[in-house]
């Protein structure tokens, strides 16, 4: 357990001692701020329109602002994740520091779990920037915090799943760019997978749509925790970390 934490701390400090962390946070602050602004602007105009038309229908902030922003953030995550995971193992393999890790009295799964945890915390820190926007909502309105919390939980689960796959891809190469591009391709594929199945009711289509990561995020964005989605994300996390462990082990037989 303490070994996991040692690795995790080292990874986190190397994120924050390089410009990666700050760059990603700045990028995310900008993009999520933009989406937040757009959603709020729509909400405010719609609200004023409603009032002018004399129909004082109550409008839900969660429904109109929080949910679309969270949906957008989940897509931005697909772009951030490759940048977080690409260096995890590829860099260690390139510089040879992987030899230090493997010849230290640490188990493979401790190394993998530590690195994945660091990536997850990094991702959480980036997501944390968007909380600033949410605070604005609390200052000027009364949004419900519970669905919001569930939304962020969903983001973390989705991120965790993709980060696990990214971790695996990073173990397969010594080139960061290859790892990054590969992870991006996988993220993109898992995102767009359900587009082709939107109007298809055949059984294969439902399988493919089940694999799409964003489909499983939708209930979370509404504040719904569905066991089905929870199981999906947790199993992808497990699958990704399992593949990483196999891949790290195979390194010894091949290299």
């Amino acid at each position: 357990m303490s070994n996991i934490w040692v690795i995790c701390r080292k990874e986190l400090s190397s994120y924050f001692s390089s410009p990666i962390a700050y760059g990603l946070m700045a990028f995310f602050a900008f993009v999520s701020g933009y989406f937040f602004y757009a959603a709020t602007a729509i909400f405010v105009t719609r609200g004023m329109e409603m009032q002018m038309m004399g129909r004082g229908m109550p409008m839900d902030v969660n429904e109109w602002v929080v949910r679309p922003v969270l949906m957008n953030v989940s897509v931005i995550g697909l772009f951030l994740i490759p940048m977080i995971t690409m260096r995890l193992f590829a860099e260690e393999k390139r510089t040879g520091t992987i030899e230090l890790l493997i010849t230290s009295p640490v188990r493979d799964w401790e190394i993998i779990l530590g690195k994945w945890l660091a990536a997850l915390l990094m991702y959480a820190a980036i997501l944390g920037v968007s909380l600033l926007n949410m605070f604005v909502l609390f200052a000027y309105g009364r949004p419900d915090w519970k669905p919001m919390l569930v939304g962020y939980l969903g983001l973390l689960l989705q991120g965790g799943a993709l980060l696990a796959l990214g971790t695996f891809l990073s173990t397969t190469t010594r080139n960061q760019i290859v790892a990054g591009v590969g992870t991006f391709a996988v993220c993109l594929m898992l995102w767009v997978l359900d587009w082709i199945t939107a109007f298809n009711t055949e059984s294969w289509a439902s399988v493919i749509s089940y694999l799409s990561v964003v489909t499983h995020f939708e209930p979370f964005s509404k504040g719904v925790i569905d066991t089905k989605d929870l199981v999906f994300y947790l199993s992808v996390i497990f699958f990704g970390l399992f593949l990483s462990a196999r891949s790290l082990e195979s390194l010894r037989w091949r290299s």
């Binding site: 070994n3 510089t95 520091t97 030899e99 230290s104």
Partner: protein, 322 residues
């Protein structure tokens, strides 16, 4: 301390290490000698549990590298060919990380870092970024990393490569200092290094074990006969040759060079026969001038070439037979 038996490491297309066996006792410094690509690094990687062997066993401190890797890893300090450093870390930060990774407690770690940094002469760069360090400092930080948790066994892969002559001397002294408390295996292709630092040599070539013995034994075993180099003036080389060839115990005389009227000869005598005094007397009695007389001992360099057949391919077989 280290026992390797029938170790073989195969790759799809090549055999990197082929049936190597040797043992290293506690406190010994053993030099791994061999040309590049001979299988030194592979053998070391097996010992550090980085690679599993295809066949055979390796034991470190009584623990098998395949069955009890965690126990082995706890007892080993390893410096790979390129020191495993994180450029974005400060030296102290890096050593702290390594210490924690090796399972050291905080208190022990702090005092040990102080000790090790003095020993490896890196105490003046503790707060510098590793990326800003020179090659020599990096190598020393790598060494500090290897000895940090005070392991029983130290495995150093070319610890002096890339250092300047002064640093090489310092590193060698450090390694010698470390012997006794640690058992050390170091690999190198620099021969004087082995002669100066190691008690025992393991010579590997193309994955096979060529010889394993102490440095002295190897030298005397391979010398075979007593060879003497002589430089004489005052007569024709042929004349000198026949005069020296007639001495007791001399088996062969050969003129290797003549310059400014001086003849250089190599005289071989039977083992155990001390022919040098006789040669001196013979030269002086004949009224020639004796300029030089020295024993031609075989250097480790020649042994190495003989054994690995790098220079003369047919010599390798002879070396093996001997």
């Amino acid at each position: 301390m280290i026992r390797v038996e029938g170790l073989t490491k195969r790759y799809p297309r090549t055999v990197a290490v082929d049936d190597i066996s040797f043992t290293v006792n506690k406190g010994e410094i053993v030099g791994f000698l061999g040309p590049n690509g001979a299988g030194k690094t592979t053998t070391m990687r097996v010992l550090t549990c980085f690679l599993p062997p295809s066949q055979g066993t390796a034991e470190v401190a009584g623990f098998d590298v395949v069955k009890q890797p965690m126990e082995v890893k706890k007892r080993i300090g390893y410096l790979p060919e390129t020191p495993p450093l994180y450029p974005e870390m400060e030296v102290r930060e890096y050593l702290q990380f390594v210490g924690r990774l090796k399972g050291m407690t905080r208190g022990a770690l702090e005092s040990r870092i102080g000790e090790v940094s003095k020993r490896c002469h890196i105490d003046d760069v503790m707060t510098r970024l590793i990326s800003k360090l020179s090659k020599g400092y990096r190598q020393r930080v790598g060494l500090a990393q290897a000895i940090l948790h005070n392991p029983d066994v130290l495995i150093l892969d070319e610890p002096t490569s890339g250092l300047d002559p002064k640093q090489i001397l310092e590193t060698r002294d450090l390694i010698k200092e470390l012997a006794g408390e640690h058992t050390i295996i170091l690999s190198t292709h620099i021969l004087p290094e082995v002669e100066q630092t190691c008690q025992k040599v393991v010579i590997i070539n193309r994955g096979r074990l060529v010889a394993t013995d102490t440095v002295e034994n190897l030298t005397s075993r391979l010398r075979g006969s007593d060879a003497v180099g002589v430089e004489v003036s005052g007569a024709q080389p042929a004349e000198i040759e026949s005069a020296l060839g007639a001495l007791d115990g001399v088996t062969a005389v050969k003129t290797t060079a003549t310059k400014d009227g001086r003849a250089r000869l190599e005289v071989e005598g039977q083992p155990g026969c001390h022919i040098r005094p006789d040669i001196a007397r013979a030269v002086v009695q004949a009224g020639w001038q004796l300029h030089e007389l020295h024993s031609l001992s075989v250097s480790l360099e020649e042994i190495f070439l003989q054994l690995t057949g790098a220079a003369q391919p047919d010599e390798a077989a002879k070396g093996d037979a001997q």
